[in-house]
């Protein structure tokens, strides 16, 4: 280990592994370490034994639940937007060759005590009871506007400057009802509170476009895809990319301590009495806790079930969004369910998660509206964690700390953080439209 690296990365969470992969491909000499003996850090997927150890303090799960190895329970459950930034990153790096994906069967939204499928086709939209007939016409005009909107083509703007006009104003222009706004803002634009209404409409419109493009991308029943064997496969896939380009991997390294010089710049990392030198350190918040501040808390229930979530047409994988207004909360609650169909549980078993930004100290009570939608559960575990953002000045200490994963139901914010960190570390902006493997194939010709 006593060696010199350009970058030492601490923690094998998804963000850290993507960065490790990108930096190694760039030709930097990367050392990547984790205190655990498995990949993924906070974004790992646990087998049954690991789950029991973590939440029950024992390593003997109930026998009737099936083989431990057949479980891959995500600790940060999110679906992947089929046309989103993570898919672009996977294609850009050619990491798709290590992974298999399936479409997520459906997306639902909670309204007045019931769940409704978010329409995935025109036919479904026409039949959906989420809107009345006249409201559907008004919504259709709005969707056509969004579909045609092109940031670079002023003609498509119809006289509206979306960097100034608020989301509320554009919704008002199309005469949409409150229920429709709730549905569009939370189930399509995937905002998790109502702050977006008073922000410039550009983000709102872009998010709806992303939803529509993701829906069209693979024409599954929803805009989401999800990897076989769970999300823990993603950090491992990017770690392999890094290794293929020369990254060095060490697991089970206790107490990785960042060393600083007299002026407070990171110069290396010490673990088990050995020190590796480096120019920059990249890590998750837990490795440099004195350089981060708490900004929130996520609370979650993890459930093992022997049936699909009721009223989802027996979907093997599904998302249900419970908008804040429906629950009288400050932010949305999300249900995420996957199953043996994605190889994350034995045949006949389903894993469901209920997640939200914590607003109380009582997860059982707080998450109850979501848990009540699940029906009977075989097992249920609760966990909460604080979310952190870095407070350091990277130019001063050469430390680049990722933000904690939020409660959102997809990875857009995750990749935005990664791309931002990449730019700060390298001074370059990543062009995700370039397919690296195609570029290198062209170079070989």
């Amino acid at each position: 280990m006593d060696e010199e690296y350009d970058v030492i990365v601490l923690g094998t969470g998804l963000k850290e592994c993507i960065l490790s992969g990108l930096l190694s491909v760039d030709g930097l000499k990367v050392l990547h370490m984790d205190r655990n003996d498995y990949y993924g850090g906070e974004s790992s997927s646990l087998n049954l034994t690991q789950l029991w150890k973590r939440f029950r303090g024992s390593d003997t799960p109930e026998e009737n639940l099936g083989a431990s190895r057949e479980y891959n329970v995500d600790m940060i459950p999110k679906f992947i937007m089929a046309n989103g930034l993570l898919v672009q990153t996977l294609i850009h790096t050619d990491v798709t060759k290590y992974l298999n994906f399936k479409a997520v069967d459906g997306s639902f939204v909670y309204k007045k005590g019931k769940i409704y499928k978010v329409p995935a086709t025109d036919v479904e939209a026409l039949k959906s009871p989420l809107m009345g007939l006249f409201e559907k016409r008004r919504a259709r005009k709005f969707f056509i506007y969004v579909q045609d909107y092109d940031e670079k083509d002023p003609k498509s703007h119809e006289g509206l400057d979306l960097s100034k006009v608020t989301a509320r104003e554009i919704i008002s222009k199309y005469g949409l009802e409150d229920d429709t706004i709730d549905f569009i803002g939370h189930a399509l634009a995937l905002h998790n509170d109502d702050d977006y209404l008073d922000q410039p409409a550009i983000d709102f419109v872009k998010r709806i476009k992303l939803y529509a493009e993701s829906l069209a991308r693979f024409q599954g029943g929803s805009p989401y895809i999800y990897p076989l064997y769970g999300l823990g496969e993603l950090p491992q896939a990017f770690a392999r990319l890094s290794a293929v380009y020369g990254g060095t991997y060490m697991l089970n390294k206790p107490e990785c301590k960042v060393e600083f010089d007299g002026s407070g710049k990171a110069i290396g990392v010490t673990s088990a009495g050995e020190t590796a030198k480096c120019k920059k350190v990249v890590c998750d918040p837990s490795y440099l806790s004195e350089k981060v501040k708490k900004v929130g808390k996520v609370t979650r229930a993890v459930c093992i079930m022997s049936h699909p979530i009721p009223d989802t047409n027996d979907a093997h994988s599904v998302q249900i969004i419970l908008p804040q207004k429906q629950l009288g909360r400050k932010s949305d609650m999300y249900l995420f369910c996957c199953s043996y169909a994605h190889n994350v549980a034995p045949k006949g078993k389903y894993i469901a998660f209920v997640s939200a930004e914590a607003e109380t100290d009582n997860p059982e009570e707080e998450l109850k509206p979501g848990i009540e939608l699940l029906g009977p559960t075989d097992e249920i575990f609760y966990h909460s964690y604080d979310t952190y953002v870095p407070t350091n000045i990277q130019e001063e200490d050469n430390c680049f700390i990722s933000a904690t994963y939020d409660a959102t139901t997809h990875f857009e914010s995750t990749v935005v953080d990664v791309l931002d960190m990449y730019t700060k570390i390298t001074g370059k902006t990543l062009d995700l439209s370039v397919d690296l493997s195609a570029a290198s194939a062209a170079a070989e010709n």
Binding site: T96, N100, R240, V244, L251, N445
Partner: protein, 217 residues
């Protein structure tokens, strides 16, 4: 360089190479798939997996052989590496007793992460270094028998037994797959996917096509 379409095959078998750093895994792979040997003893970098198509008991089998990319050096192989592997070549160096002693740890890792039906072959490599041999053939043979593994000694440098090693493990995998596909109504290709279809994330839909198809040069 003209890019030929994928050769047609009846079966695709993923086989993984494991074992300590420096035992010659990458040279076994390059010898088998490209008939090449590299004398530099660098840790594996840049090697993904390699494929070769061959005949096994009359069927066309495409072997997809995965190398570790160097992650074994500090015992950091991903559990995903073993995902879907039907065979494993557990390699040690006959001139380095430590690499043979570590076989039991690699075996445990396989049993923890790989499918329980995986075919495991123990390989003692570098038999060309006769004067440096430190692991007796008999010792490895009896260990392999005790653990239920196939066993062969090879020299990637001299291309001794390399072809035979791969042919043997692929034949064993084929036999197991055939037996399984008779007893089950699932097709082999879909054995890992319980329901529904995987999607090709890398496929570019027409509406998203931004660059023209690259022509062969």
């Amino acid at each position: 360089m003209a890019r030929r379409p994928d050769e047609e095959y009846d079966y695709l078998f993923k086989v993984v190479l494991i074992g300590d750093s420096g035992v010659g895994k990458s040279n076994l792979l390059s010898r088998f798939t490209r008939n090449e040997f590299c004398l530099e003893s660098k840790s594996t970098i840049g090697v993904e997996f390699a494929t070769r198509t061959l005949q096994v008991e009359g069927r066309t089998v495409k072997a997809q052989i995965w190398d570790t990319a160097g992650q074994e050096r500090y015992r950091a192989i991903t559990s995903a590496y073993y995902r879907g592997a039907l065979g494993a070549l557990l390699v040690y160096d006959v001139t380095k007793p430590t690499t043979f002693e570590n076989v039991s740890r690699w075996l445990k890792e396989l049993r923890d992460h790989a499918d329980s039906n995986i075919v495991i072959m123990l390989i003692g490599n570098k038999t060309d270094l006769k004067h440096l041999r430190a692991v007796a053939t008999e010792d490895a043979q009896s260990y392999a028998e005790k653990e239920g593994l196939s066993f062969i000694e090879t020299s990637a440098l001299e291309a001794l037994n390399v072809e035979k090693a791969f042919q043997t493990i692929l034949s064993e995998v084929y036999r197991i797959i055939s037996k399984k596909s008779i007893s089950s109504d699932q097709t082999t290709a879909n054995a890992n996917i319980k329901e529904g279809q995987t999607i090709d994330v890398a496929a570019t839909s027409e509406s998203n096509a931004k660059k023209p198809c690259c022509s062969s040069s």
